[in-house]
């Protein structure tokens, strides 16, 4: 297997063992089946019993009677053809016109003929693809039959479906089609992709899958559902207002980039600017500032545009235990985030947002992200709102505790001041040394910034912090882009305390609280940085104990729930059949299957 070792235990296996044809996982269907077969044998050796379609399924899901197989949108043929022509057309163009364009009329005819044949072939292929593509939503699976040359049938058990997301780009919206991706947890590719169906059909699929999923889960825990009518369309938690969108776009500037630009520019000798702008040497500092501002402005424009088009018309809804969102100006995205898959909550507040007490809320799910880069499963839940409202929403979503941060000890502030001064000093020395070789800016310039070192140190220190609550732990870092990570103890994977040789001089350490969601690419891990040795130990032990506690609590809750479900079930059985005893074992399996499922949902 080429995958990472821990992926082996993940949901693919269960999905595979349940789908009627193992090789169905390959999107392109080019791979010969034999390649996949050994893998399946491996997997089969692990006892991952597919959940028996429960006996109750038939009567409960009777309102959702199986539909007839559906087809893609006819226009999808045109779109896909166009797409394919564009992707390979360029190559063909280079090949022919680069080499043979000089050969005259006969060659031209040849080219035209080839192009024509190619077009027909592509079109033919796409028509065939369309004709052979069928999908169907049954009571407990989503089935897809597809493939022109090698056929494949795929059944995706609905209970494994984590998200159905719909994507439309500008062109799609013009002709009214949309792409539907069906995602199960853990994988970084879509389990199934419908390219393309009508935009309305896409929404319908989204809704239907949700509804049927709920019907399936109701079956197991009949006491959970209360408001069915509301459940259909969900309750709107947040909708971005025009004002918020504008402010958000305005505030979306990466200050680190700006600072970096200034930093780089300050090293360009003033003569260069003179050459460009013709300013006199006496104001040699000015061009740097001007140029810096220009760069900052460009960066700001880019940030504005990106944010504006991304969060245009953002709506967050809640449907039972799932958050649904929709956003986008040109490209429309809609998807969902299952609340019980959320690992961490993250607050993003850059300097400007903080100044006006606004905030952004992101949620991180385990290894899966619907629309953004699949490297990190981070998704924006609330793009922009007053901090208070953001916190209230977080509480509403998952009873998040509002953290009250403890700052690191004062000596870590001294450490930063020391560090910054040291950097400036080193810079001055370097410039001084270089002065003898070339003529860089005056060597003492960095030293002028020395008074800023304590300020910067204070700001850095002030924006750090950690919080150990009853059910949640939180950390906070960063001045320019302050990031606070809040997570429930039961999401903790492991705890790592580390202290470098430099940290030890100040008796400081860093505690990283690892979850399954964070990828480490973005520095969104929960890290309590530069806390005292004693505090580090307290955090480490506290998190560890609270993890066990909260797991025990959850276990007890689940047991209670299960017991209730059993009682209800037993009641039903007792009413329906006198021979309830023999059926009981069968029922025992049900929650266990669920257990399996969730574990694999990693």
């Amino acid at each position: 297997m080429e995958n990472e070792p821990n992926e082996a235990t993940e949901p693919h296996e269960s999905e595979t063992s349940e789908s009627s044809e193992p090789s169905a996982r390959d999107e392109t269907a080019e791979t010969p089946e034999t390649e996949e077969v050994p893998q399946t044998e491996d997997e089969v050796s692990e006892p991952s019993e597919p959940p028996e379609p429960s006996d109750g399924a038939d009567d409960t899901s009777s309102p959702t009677n199986p539909t007839t197989p559906s087809k893609l949108h006819p226009l999808s043929v045109a779109y896909r053809t166009l797409q394919q022509i564009l992707s390979i057309g360029f190559l063909v163009f280079l090949f022919f016109f680069g080499g043979a364009a000089t050969e005259g009329l006969s060659a031209l005819v040849g080219i035209a003929l080839t192009v024509f044949v190619a077009l027909v072939a592509i079109l033919g292929w796409q028509v065939a693809y369309y004709r052979r593509f069928e999908y169907e939503l049954t009571g407990d699976t989503f089935d897809i039959r597809s493939g022109v040359i090698s056929r494949r049938n795929r059944e995706i058990p609905l209970r494994r479906v984590q998200n159905v997301d719909v994507t439309e780009n500008v062109l799609h919206r013009l002709i009214g089609i949309a792409q539907v991706n069906i995602e199960t947890a853990g994988g970084n590719v879509s389990e199934a992709s419908l390219r393309y169906v009508g935009a309305d059909v896409a929404r319908e699929i989204q809704r239907d899958v949700r509804r049927r999923k709920r019907a399936l889960s109701d079956e197991e825990t009949p006491d959970i559902e209360e408001d069915v009518e509301e459940g259909e369309r969900g309750r709107k938690l947040y909708e971005i207002s025009g004002r918020e969108l504008l402010l958000l776009s305005t505030f979306s500037i990466d200050f680190r980039l700006v600072a970096f630009a200034f930093f780089i520019l300050s090293f360009v000798p003033p003569e260069r600017f003179e050459a460009i702008e013709g300013v006199s040497v006496s104001v040699s500092a000015l061009p740097v500032v001007v140029l810096g501002l220009i760069v900052a402005f460009i960066l700001w424009i880019i940030g504005f545009g990106t944010s504006f088009s991304r969060y245009y018309g953002f709506v967050l809804t809640r449907i039972d235990d799932t958050l649904g969102y929709e956003r986008g100006l040109f490209n429309r995205y809609s998807g969902s985030i299952p609340i019980n898959k959320i690992q961490t909550f993250t607050l993003y507040e850059n300097v400007l947002k903080r100044r006006f007490s606004y905030s952004t809320l992101g949620v991180e799910t385990a290894g899966y992200s619907p629309t953004q880069s699949r490297q990190h499963g981070s998704e924006t839940a609330v793009p922009f709102a007053k901090k208070e409202r953001v916190m209230n929403l977080a509480v509403e979503i998952d009873d998040v505790e509002i953290p009250e941060f403890t700052l690191p000890p004062k000596r870590s502030r001294r450490r930063y001041a020391f560090r910054y001064s040291l950097v400036l000093g080193v810079l001055a020395v370097l410039l001084y040394v270089a002065d003898t070789v070339v003529s860089p800016p005056d060597w003492y310039l960095p030293l002028l910034a020395l008074p800023l070192a304590p300020v910067a140190a204070h700001l850095k220190w002030r924006n750090r912090g950690y919080y150990l609550g009853d059910d949640y732990v939180a950390t906070r870092n960063g001045f320019w882009n302050r990031t606070s990570v809040i997570l429930p103890y039961y999401r903790v994977q492991n705890v790592i305390e580390s202290s470098t040789i430099l940290q030890r001089r100040w008796r400081l350490a860093t505690v990283t609280i690892d979850t399954a969601g964070s990828s480490g690419l973005r520095s969104d891990d929960a890290r309590a940085v530069d806390v005292g040795f004693e505090d580090a130990e307290v955090i480490r032990e506290e998190v560890r104990d609270k993890l066990q506690e909260s797991l025990a609590e959850r276990r007890a809750e689940r047991r209670e729930k299960r017991r209730k479900a059993d009682e209800t079930w037993l009641d039903t059985v007792a009413r329906e059949s006198p021979d309830a005893r023999s059926e009981e074992d069968k029922h025992e399996d049900l929650p266990e299957d669920d257990t399996e499922g969730e574990r694999k949902d990693t």
Binding site: T512, D514, A516, R544, Q548, T602
Partner: protein, 154 residues
């Protein structure tokens, strides 16, 4: 706190010797002062050996792990001290491994996998193969004991 098998210390020191020797040989050709009694290469070798040797000794001394009541606790590091806590509930699977060097020295290592992103795999080197297998079995049992909470793996 359980220490590593002392044989891994020998292996690590051997590695240090090899690296020092390698770098020493590279600098063998460096111009030597006529009056110097020792060639530069040798000096480099000795210095590096002292440096790496000390590092490896400290590395060995600082390595320790313990199977505690709810988690595996690991401590290691010379320049960066690291303390890791891996709760049994979070263990996804456990490998015991023997690479070529480990086979030659009659040692093995244990790798514990969690779903975490940073400490996703935690490696304990320098175990006797028996101890590695024993630990693997033990941790497996401890992980299964928590089976009821297995759905909390993420």
């Amino acid at each position: 706190m359980e220490n590593l098998n002392p044989r891994i210390r020998t292996v690590w020191i051997l590695v240090a010797v090899l690296i020092a020797a390698f770098l020493g040989t590279i600098f063998r050709a460096a111009p030597t002062d006529e009056y110097a009694e020792v060639p530069v290469g040798v000096i480099i070798f000795v210095v590096l050996l002292l440096l790496f040797g000390t590092y490896q000794l400290l590395r060995y001394r600082n390595w320790g792990f313990e199977v505690q009541d709810d988690a595996v606790y690991i401590e290691h590091g010379v320049l960066v001290h690291v303390k890791k806590v891996v709760p049994f509930v979070r263990i996804q699977h456990i490998d015991s491994r023997r690479g070529p060097v480990e086979r030659a020295s009659g040692l093995a290592s244990l790798v514990i996998y969690t779903a975490g992103s940073r400490g996703a795999d935690v490696r304990i080197p320098g175990l006797t193969p028996e101890r590695a297998d024993e630990l693997r079995e033990k941790l497996r049992e401890l992980a299964i004991e928590n089976e009821e909470s297995i759905e909390d793996a993420v």
